[in-house]
């Protein structure tokens, strides 16, 4: 990743709507060519951030830079970024071909070249020959591809995607995730991807930022954010996490603080199992069992709280798993998998 001029730089950016601080003092660098995700619950400021980059909103304070150029007062139509909208925002009165050609029409590209590039672009999103259809004749997934083609044909330096897969069903969403990734590698431009789906953010991104209440909680690679959540919010929002704090923390770790450990890092062992030197342990009783097919989730009652444990169903069947309810167990996990987090 080049450490030269970042594709996007947000410096102390805030956007207030009346008393609501939609974006509140955000600092962020996105590198050229990155697939960068903005992850957060609805109302966390991620979409507003995207709109600030696109130019639909102006920051209340702070500065937005695009490849080093200050964007204050630059309208969307003069920014070298394009957006794929959550509702696709296709022009309903135009054909697919006219939709995709829109940006080229504005740039007054000659008709023959325009037609060729539209055809190429539609081929790339696997909609070859759809030029004369109307958006209303397409399925959700096809509209999504048209929106993508319409944005990419302008060869923007940055493509902004606002929850583009939110309206698709699971199978199609997974297929589009792979396709988007492929297309991003193919065109080699920076993608900024807004989503509230943590799994999507983890699987697709080079790096991601976790938003909460207008602020960024953590920025890092998917593995970093998942393995080392730095705040309580990230630990809870990205994947599920066990929080160990107060007295329980003191008893298990020996030091007070707030710690997080992922459910899949904890092993269920028989009571009285030996505790290796590099591990922590806690004794408890299995309260609840949820059989999930691939794995099973156990809720274990320990002194002063509950821990969730996820185990792969390697040998066990649903019958075995469900029979474990009420059984005393010892939970063991490596010290390295437990992280101290801030609030």
């Amino acid at each position: 990743m080049s450490q030269s001029v970042p594709a996007i730089r947000l410096k102390e950016v805030s956007r207030h709507f009346g008393a609501v601080k939609a974006v509140d003092g955000v600092n962020l660098d996105v590198q050229d060519g990155e697939f960068f995700s903005m992850l957060g619950p609805s109302g966390s400021g991620k979409t507003t951030c995207l709109r600030l980059i696109a130019g639909f909103e102006q920051p209340t304070t702070g500065s937005v830079q695009l490849y080093g150029a200050e964007m204050a007062g630059v309208p969307p139509y003069e920014r070298d970024v394009n957006t794929v909208f959550q509702d696709y925002a296709l022009f309903p009165h135009m054909t697919v071909g006219q939709n995709v050609a829109y940006g080229l029409m504005i740039k007054k590209v000659a008709k023959t070249e325009r037609d060729r590039r539209v055809a190429d672009m539609l081929d790339m999103v696997q909609l070859g020959g759809f030029q004369n259809r109307k958006p209303s004749q397409l399925s959700g997934g096809q509209r999504q591809r048209v929106a993508l083609a319409r944005a990419l044909i302008n060869q923007p330096r940055v493509l902004l995607l606002d929850e583009p897969l939110g309206a698709l069903d699971l199978k199609l969403r997974q297929q589009m995730q792979i396709e988007l990734k492929t297309i991003q590698k193919q065109v080699g431009i920076t993608f900024i991807f807004v989503t509230h789906d943590q799994e999507e953010a983890l699987t697709m991104s080079d790096r991601l930022a976790v938003f909460n209440q207008g602020k960024i909680e953590q920025v890092g690679s998917p593995a970093e954010v998942y393995e080392h959540p730095s705040t309580r919010f990230v630990a809870g929002f990205v994947g599920t996490s066990n929080l160990i704090e107060h007295e329980t923390a003191k008893r298990i770790v020996g030091e007070p603080g707030t710690y997080s450990v992922r459910p899949e890092k904890i092993r269920l062992c028989p009571p009285d199992s030996p505790i290796p030197n590099d591990s922590f342990a806690a004794d408890g009783t299995i309260q609840d069992v949820v059989y999930l097919g691939v794995n099973t989730r156990y809720v274990v009652q320990i002194a002063g709280g509950e821990l969730t444990v996820v185990e792969q169903n390697l040998d066990s069947t649903s019958m075995d798993a469900l029979a474990a309810r009420g059984r005393p167990v010892r939970l063991i996990w490596q010290k390295a998998h437990m992280r101290s987090i801030s609030d």
């Binding site: 696109a54 130019g55 639909f56 309208p75 969307p76 139509y77 970024v81 394009n82 957006t83 909208f85 959550q86 509702d87 925002a89 296709l90 022009f91 309903p92 009165h93 829109y102 940006g103 504005i106 740039k107 319409r150 944005a151 302008n154």
Partner: protein, 303 residues
């Protein structure tokens, strides 16, 4: 309780029966009164008045339609159609910005007040409003006074001295009539346009800017085409209402004939119902041609 539930269940599993119950009355109304009277009108227009005996000859003939093309009648048709076209175009220019503001910017209270303001005139009597305009436009009326206070009397005099649209005063000129028509039909133009604009998603306008279009380009290629069905709907109202009106041409203007007033005279005092009917068919024909043209131009593509 039990009975209503049984009726409800009975109807729920027989949607066609519900449909019949629901539509019988309106369809009867539509068929008998609406289409019935319209076809009676059409039939009448093919009869003719025997000028010698003054009686109506109930025989098929194109003669009455031929009468429409006498210079004086053609004059009436062209005058009315010209006024209707001018009123429609004028209304679009006044209604569009207001409708745009109402649909895209106004929120909450402001929006409610604007809608109320637009529809409020429809609550009071049409005649009262037309006569009050006569007073406003009169030579000694409010408007002339305001204009002279603003020192713009010269402009008004210049306007009134123009051929065709001018006259001795605003209340006796086509221009004054144009103003009153526009005032009276404006709500019918504003409401369909704002309804059409409200259906244009914010994101579509954002998308256009995002793809590099300046506001003017977005307006021409996205907003206007998507609002056009509303403009056409509004213009159907203003155009056809102006074509058929007979009160405003009587109250305001130089009392020259318009289609509506001709129809009134022909079937009232003159007793020439066939000619009145033929005159009534004119607006229908004009509207038909207008709608075909609008469809050709793609006005309904976005529907």
């Amino acid at each position: 309780m039990v009975a209503t539930r049984r009726i409800a269940n009975f109807l729920y599993v027989r949607p066609w029966l519900t449909l019949i119950l629901m539509l019988t009355l309106p369809l009867l109304w539509l068929g008998v009164f609406y289409l019935g009277s319209l076809s009676a009108l059409l039939v009448q227009s093919f009869f003719y008045l025997d000028s010698f005996s003054g009686t109506i000859v109930r025989q098929f003939s194109w003669r009455t339609y031929g009468d429409l093309f006498t210079p004086s009648n053609l004059d009436v048709v062209l005058r009315t159609a010209g006024m209707a076209a001018a009123v429609t175009i004028g209304s679009v220019f006044i209604a569009f910005p207001l409708a745009y503001y109402m649909a895209r910017y106004a929120t909450g209270r402001t929006r409610g007040l604007l809608y109320l303001g637009v529809t409020l005139p429809l609550w009071s009597s049409y005649l009262v409003r037309v006569y009050s305009w006569k007073l406003i436009l009169a030579k000694e009326g409010l408007l002339t006074w305001v204009i002279s206070r603003l020192g713009l009397s010269g402009v008004l005099d210049g306007l009134l001295s123009l051929p065709v649209i001018g006259g001795p005063s605003l209340s006796f000129s086509y221009f004054g009539m144009f103003l009153v028509f526009m005032y009276v039909w404006l709500p019918y133009m504003i409401l369909p346009i704002s309804a059409a604009l409200e259906r244009v998603p914010r994101s579509v306008i954002d998308a256009s800017a995002d793809l590099g279009a300046r506001p003017g380009y977005t307006f021409r290629t996205v907003i206007l085409p998507l609002a056009f069905p509303g403009v056409v709907a509004g213009s159907i109202f203003t155009f056809s209402l102006t074509l058929g009106d007979y009160i405003i041409p009587k109250v305001v203007g130089d009392s020259s004939y318009f289609i509506g007033s001709v129809v009134l005279t022909q079937q009232g005092t003159a007793g020439n119902i066939p000619l009145a009917a033929a005159f009534t068919v004119v607006p229908i024909a004009i509207m038909g041609v207008y709608l075909l043209m609008a469809r050709r131009m793609g006005a309904f593509d976005a529907l």
